[in-house]
C-alpha cells in the first residue's frame, strides 16, 4: 500500500485495499481463519438450501464441504453466505467469499471481464420454462405474448430475450431481484411463465402452493454449465479447487465411495494409489496433505453419491444423471488423471 502516511486516511484507504488483499494466498487465509467462506444461493432445493435445522445441504454446498474436507479434514468447516444472483459476483470479487458455489453459469464474459475463474462444471444444465397446467400449453413455441417471471442478474434474462426474438414472439418481462419474490409473483399468477435453469425449475416447482398444477415445458433453450468459481490471480487456490472437483469425479470412476475409501487404500490399482496418496505426494503441490483425496471422499463421498443424495431420482427433485453421468456411462463428466 502506498501513501499511508496520514493516519486519518487509513480507514478510507483500507476500504480500497480489499481487492488487493483478496489476491493474496487464499489458502493461507482460509487455514488461518479455520473455515472456508462459501457463497451459495438464498435457497434452491437440491443445490443449496438450509434444512429445517438450519444446516445447508445440496450439490453446490457439498462441493464447498469437499474443499473444507481437503483442507481441514472436516466437511463442517464451512461458513455459508446466501447470495442473490445480483450480489454473487461482487461478493467473490471483494473477497467476502472464498468460493462461489451457487448454480452459476460459466460464460465467457464472466470468465474474462469479471475477474472470475471457473473451476469446472459440476452440473450441466439448460434453461427451460415452467407454466401452470391450466394454461393448456404444451410447447414453448405457444407462449407468444406471455408475461414471464425472471430473476435479475442471470443469464436467464438474456437467453429469454434471445429465444423470443429468434422465434418471432414477444413477452412481458417481470423482473425481480429476490428468488422468493419471483416465486411469489408466479404463484400469485402475475406471470404465465417462469423461466430459469431446468434444475432450478424442478426445485422451484416444489415450493409452489400446488406443485402438481405446474409443469416444465420440454424445450431447453440454452446451455447452462453450472460450476463453482474462484477469484483470478491465485493459481494455487484455483488448482486446489479444480482438483477437489476432479477427485470427486475420479473417485466415482474408480468406484471409491465414502464407505469403502479406507479399504481402497490397499488397492493394487496404481491410479487409485496415486489418487489416495498411497503412492506419491500430489497434495503438497496445492498446499494439501498426501491423503487429501481420502479426506474429501470421507467427508462428502464421490460425485455420484453427492448427486444421488441431493438431486437424484431418489430425492424429491428426481433428476436423472443424463448429461451429468460420467463419460464412461455416456455422460459429460470427465476428469483429468492424477499423475
Amino acid at each position: 500500500m502506498k501513501n499511508t502516511f496520514i493516519p486519518v486516511l487509513a480507514g478510507a484507504v483500507v476500504a480500497m485495499t480489499a481487492v488487493s488483499a483478496a489476491n493474496a494466498a487464499t489458502l493461507d487465509d482460509v487455514k488461518k481463519k479455520g473455515f472456508v467462506q462459501c457463497g451459495v444461493s438464498t435457497g434452491l432445493a437440491g443445490f443449496s438450501n438450509p434444512d429445517d435445522k438450519g444446516e445447508w445441504t445440496g450439490l453446490d454446498v457439498d462441493y464447498c464441504r469437499a474443499v473444507a474436507s481437503a483442507i481441514f479434514d472436516d466437511p463442517k468447516a464451512v461458513k455459508f453466505s446466501p447470495l442473490s444472483a445480483k450480489e454473487r459476483f461482487t461478493a467473490l470479487q471483494s473477497g467476502e467469499v472464498d468460493i462461489l458455489s451457487r448454480n452459476t453459469t460459466w460464460t465467457m464474459s464472466r470468465d474474462t471481464q469479471m475477474g472470475l475463474a471457473f473451476v469446472g462444471v459440476t452440473y450441466y444444465d439448460g434453461q427451460g420454462f415452467m407454466i401452470p397446467k391450466s394454461l393448456g400449453v404444451s410447447s414453448a413455441k405457444e407462449i407468444d405474448g406471455a408475461s414471464v417471471c425472471v430473476q435479475t442478474g442471470t443469464t436467464t434474462e438474456l437467453n429469454l430475450s434471445d429465444y423470443f426474438k429468434a422465434n418471432g414472439m414477444t413477452f412481458n418481462p417481470v423482473v425481480l431481484e429476490k428468488l422468493e419474490e419471483v416465486n411469489a409473483a408466479y404463484d400469485a399468477g402475475r406471470c404465465d411463465v417462469y423461466t430459469t435453469d431446468a434444475s432450478g425449475l424442478y426445485a422451484i416447482r416444489l415450493t409452489m402452493s400446488k406443485p402438481d398444477d405446474h409443469m416444465v415445458l420440454p424445450e431447453i433453450i440454452s446451455k447452462e454449465p453450472l460450476g463453482p468459481a474462484v477469484r483470478q490471480g491465485d493459481d494455487q487456490w484455483f488448482a486446489l479447487n479444480k482438483w477437489v472437483y476432479f477427485a470427486l469425479l475420479n473417485a466415482e470412476e474408480m468406484g471409491i465411495t465414502q464407505a469403502n475409501v479406507e479399504e481402497m487404500k490397499t488397492s493394487e490399482n496404481p491410479n487409485i494409489k496415486r489418487l489416495l496418496g498411497v503412492d506419491g505426494d500430489f497434495g503438497a503441490s496445492v498446499g494439501l496433505s498426501a491423503d487429501w483425496a481420502v479426506k474429501v471422499i470421507k467427508g462428502v463421498g464421490n460425485y455420484g453419491e453427492i448427486f444421488a443424495r441431493n438431486v437424484g431420482t431418489e430425492t424429491p427433485l428426481g433428476i436423472e444423471r443424463g448429461q451429468n453421468a460420467l463419460w464412461t456411462e455416456g455422460g459429460l463428466q470427465y476428469a483429468p488423471p492424477v499423475r
Partner: protein, 402 residues
C-alpha cells in the same frame, strides 16, 4: 517567499527572528488552510480513484465506460422510449432514468394532493373527519415504506383476477393482475392543430390573468378570471377537436392469447409503487400542512374577519400564503425523500434506474464501480435540482416585508 535576500541568507535569520506579518493575517491564513484542505481532498479523491483502478486491473475486472454502447440483450417491462433487447446499455440507462422520473413526478403530485387534503382534514371541525385523518397519518407514517410497498404489491396482485376474468372498466379499460389496461389514443393528421390551439389558449389565459390582477390592483375592480381561464383552456381545444373532425383514433385493449394487446398497460408494479410512495409520503406532508396552518396565529383570521373578508377568502388570501412559508422548506425534504425512496422499486420489480441499471446492467457487465458511481450521481443531481427548484419557489412565496 516575498522577501528576497541578496546574500542568500535565510530571511528569517537576517531579520533577527521576526516573522513577516502576513503569517498572522487571519485572511491569508484562512486562504492557506482552505487551500490545504482542498489539496488534501483532491489528493484523497485521486488516491481512491487510482487505487480502485489499479485493484480492478489486478483482479482482471474490466473498467471504463465503453460498455454504454454495447448491446443490452435484455428486455425491460416498461419504457417511455423505444427500447428492445437490441438497444444499448446506454438506452437501458435512459429507460430506467425516465421510469424513475415518472414515478417521482407522479408520486410528488399525488402525495401533495393527498397530503394537503389529509392535513386540512386534521383541522376540520368535523370530529369523524379529524379522527380518520389522524388514524391515516399515524398508520402510514409509522410503518417502514418497504413493507408498505410489498403490502401494496401483494394486495394488488391478490385482489385482482387473471386477465381472462379481468374486470371491465368504463371506456373500454380492463383491470386484472396484469394491471390496468386503458385505451390508447393515437393522434391522426390535424391533431397538431388541437395541440397548438391548446398552447395558445394557455398563453392567452396567463395574459388575461395578469391583466386582471393588474387591473384589480389599480382600480379594485374584480374580474371573473377563473371562469374565463377555464373556458379558454378547455373550450378552445374541444372546439378545435370537433372542428377538425375528431382526429384521434382509439385503440382498445383486446385479450389475445395470454395477455392484452393494444392499449396502455399500467402494470401492477407501477400501481403498487405509486400507491405506496404517495400514501406514505402524504402522511408526512399532512403533518407539515397541519403545522403550517397552525403556525398562522388566529389573530390573522380574526383581523381579516373584522375587515369583513369572507372565511373562504380569508383562508385563501390570508392564512394559506402565510402557512406556505412554513410548509415549503420541509415539503422539499419530503419530495427528496419520495424521489430517493422510489429506488425501493427494485423490491417489487418496477423497472426504475436502480433495478435496470444498477441491477441488470451492473450484473451483465460486472462493472459495479462505474455503475454505482453513475447511479449515485443521478440521484444527487435529481435531489439537488428538486431542492433548487423548491428554493426558487420558496423565495417567490416568501412574505414580502416592508
Amino acid at each position: 517567499m516575498a522577501v528576497q535576500n541578496e546574500t542568500g541568507d535565510p530571511p528569517a535569520k537576517s531579520r533577527g527572528g521576526s516573522v513577516p506579518s502576513f503569517v498572522y493575517d487571519p485572511v491569508v491564513r484562512g486562504y492557506v488552510f482552505q487551500f490545504l484542505l482542498a489539496a488534501v481532498l483532491v489528493w484523497l479523491a485521486w488516491d481512491i480513484a487510482s487505487n480502485t483502478a489499479e485493484n480492478l486491473q489486478r483482479a482482471n475486472i474490466a473498467s471504463g465506460f465503453g460498455f454504454f454502447d454495447d448491446r443490452a440483450g435484455f428486455e425491460i417491462a416498461q419504457s417511455l422510449i423505444t427500447y428492445s433487447s437490441d438497444s444499448s446499455y446506454g438506452d437501458a440507462f435512459i429507460v430506467g432514468l425516465l421510469n424513475t422520473l415518472l414515478i417521482a413526478v407522479l408520486g410528488i403530485i399525488f402525495a401533495t394532493i393527498i397530503g394537503f387534503l389529509v392535513g386540512i382534514a386534521r383541522l376540520a371541525p368535523n370530529w369523524m373527519l379529524r379522527k380518520v385523518a389522524t388514524v391515516y397519518v399515524e398508520i402510514f407514517r409509522n410503518i417502514p415504506v418497504l413493507l408498505q410497498l410489498l403490502f401494496w404489491y401483494k394486495a394488488v396482485l391478490s385482489v385482482l383476477p387473471q386477465p381472462r376474468n379481468g374486470i371491465e372498466m368504463p371506456f373500454g379499460a380492463n383491470l386484472s393482475n396484469r394491471g390496468m389496461i386503458i385505451p390508447r389514443f393515437i393522434p391522426q393528421d390535424g391533431f397538431a392543430i388541437v395541440v397548438i390551439g391548446f398552447a395558445i389558449a394557455v398563453v392567452a389565459a396567463i395574459v388575461i390573468a395578469r391583466w386582471a390582477h393588474a387591473r384589480q390592483m389599480a382600480t379594485g375592480q374584480q374580474f371573473k378570471t377563473m371562469r374565463v381561464v377555464l373556458a379558454l383552456i378547455i373550450g378552445v381545444p374541444v372546439l378545435l377537436y370537433l372542428v377538425t373532425g375528431m382526429p384521434l383514433e382509439v385503440e382498445y385493449p383486446v385479450l389475445t392469447g395470454f395477455n392484452f394487446r393494444g392499449g396502455i398497460a399500467l402494470k401492477p408494479e407501477f400501481i403498487a409503487l405509486l400507491l405506496g410512495l404517495s400514501i406514505y409520503t402524504a402522511a408526512f406532508i399532512a403533518e407539515i400542512v397541519r403545522a403550517g396552518i397552525k403556525a398562522v396565529s388566529w389573530g390573522q383570521s380574526e383581523a381579516a374577519y373584522a375587515l369583513g373578508i369572507r372565511p373562504s377568502l380569508t383562508t385563501r388570501l390570508v392564512v394559506i400564503p402565510q402557512a406556505m412559508r412554513v410548509i415549503i422548506p420541509p415539503l422539499t425534504s419530503q419530495f427528496l425523500n419520495l424521489t430517493k425512496n422510489s429506488s425501493l422499486a427494485v423490491a417489487i420489480g418496477y423497472p426504475d434506474l436502480v433495478s435496470v441499471f444498477s441491477g441488470t446492467v451492473l450484473n451483465q457487465t460486472g462493472q459495479a464501480v462505474e455503475v454505482i458511481i453513475i447511479t449515485m450521481a443521478v440521484y444527487l443531481t435529481l435531489s439537488l435540482s428538486t431542492a433548487a427548484f423548491m428554493n426558487w419557489f420558496n423565495s417567490r412565496m416568501r412574505l414580502v416585508e416592508r
